[in-house]
Subunit: 239 residues, 2 copies
């Protein structure tokens, strides 16, 4: 049985697109590429096999079982196995910091938004969802492979590593609204857990901000809040 | 077996919070409220029962089976049964129009964002996911009950109903960027299917816009794109 092992050294990118991203952007971490016996020997197949050869990544074409075990009902034809690797963040870059995120789909979507808005660094405060879970990789559509990601046990541990920068915790209790934020770089946008938000103590860190919203909802979805904040901070530099 | 019937006249709001929203904001559509025999007879229970009495909605307390059938593993103690009702949109209000949305979770999150940014009207072009599916209601956290929602067979059918307004289709092929959009009201923000986006023909409608983003991702998640657009169009009027 080929199960994803949270404690093991490798994880899996399910799907052709995600595997291409792995080979193109993180080939040092790629260990093996599995191609289903059912995959057509078409042009995509040819490109994939030659990219594996170029990057010296072994191709396995006779392991039908791994597709049943890992991809369930989904029609996956290619799986990339990769080493789970945390990397040092760029102290001069802009970051997103998620405190105790718990949902794999949300995290994957957030990774995709980071890449979409030109950021390269994300930090997570534990306990949190396993960022290398195949569900996260899947929801990120391979964006994980464009990012430096690192877990920390506390905000202080992160801050000691992150270099001089401006912090923007997103909290409903903040006084200042996002559209009026004085934007300084490098910055870290900070978000709390899906259900509980950030601890009150973050009101004393940097420049707490809130996204204008009615009182008819408790809060925006976490990945929506991150996307809005990234949009507001990056929109001027994206063109 | 109490299954949700897509063709039937009623659907279900799973959970205490969503049922309160149903009773508070759409009590005319509420048919029954089921309370689990396992629910504590606490203060929330008291408020719920008295609200049902005030709104003349029958309370059923001995149907344990409906909780097993409808809520699966989730720990749901209250279910509100409601009539699926489409309502005429406000021709003077701002709208969101989704063309062929296919994902229940995305649609629910989008309904929540609409309410969060002060909109009251949403139109869907069929074919699309069933907006009354309990999964949508759940993901919307009851926001559905704050909205007027209507399905149309085509954009033209919608436009004939929607009154004079400005259209903003969101498309990667658009020339103009969202941050520079000249915002006119009332407006309709238009988004395509999660996988395929809007048909090219929408380039000829109103003022097509794109959200600035890198070419490293195919596109933002649909519900993220809607949240960003609503934020940009509503941020000035939200305070």
């Amino acid at each position: 049985m080929n199960r994803y092992d949270k404690a093991g050294p490798t994880s899996f990118a399910l799907g052709t697109q995600a595997t291409f991203y792995l080979l193109e952007s993180a080939s040092k971490e790629a260990r093996k590429v599995y191609i289903s016996p059912k995959q057509n020997r078409d042009e995509t197949y040819g490109r994939l096999v030659s990219l594996c050869k170029e990057k010296r990544v072994p191709v396995i074409e006779n392991n039908e079982r791994i597709f049943r075990d890992l991809s369930g009902k989904d029609n996956v034809m290619v799986i990339g196995e990769f080493e789970k690797t945390e990397r040092a963040l760029n102290p001069k870059g802009n970051h997103v910091l998620l405190v105790n995120p718990s949902n794999a789909g949300n995290l994957g979507t957030i990774l995709r938004s980071l890449v979409g808005f030109g950021l390269s660094d994300i930090a997570l405060i534990t306990p949190c969802v396993d960022p290398f879970d195949p569900k996260v990789v899947r929801a990120s559509m391979g964006a994980l492979f464009h990012l430096r990601l690192r877990r920390y046990a506390s905000f202080d541990a992160y801050a000691a590593d992150a270099g001089k920068r401006s912090y923007y915790p997103f909290m409903l209790q903040a006084q200042d609204f996002l559209p009026e934020a004085k934007q300084e770089t490098p910055y870290t946008l900070i978000f709390g857990n899906e259900a509980t938000g950030l601890p009150e103590s973050f009101l004393g860190i940097g420049h707490p901000l809130k996204i204008p919203q009615t009182s008819l909802i408790d809060s925006l979805n976490l990945d929506n809040a991150v996307a809005i904040a990234l949009y507001e901070f990056q929109k001027e530099t994206m063109r």
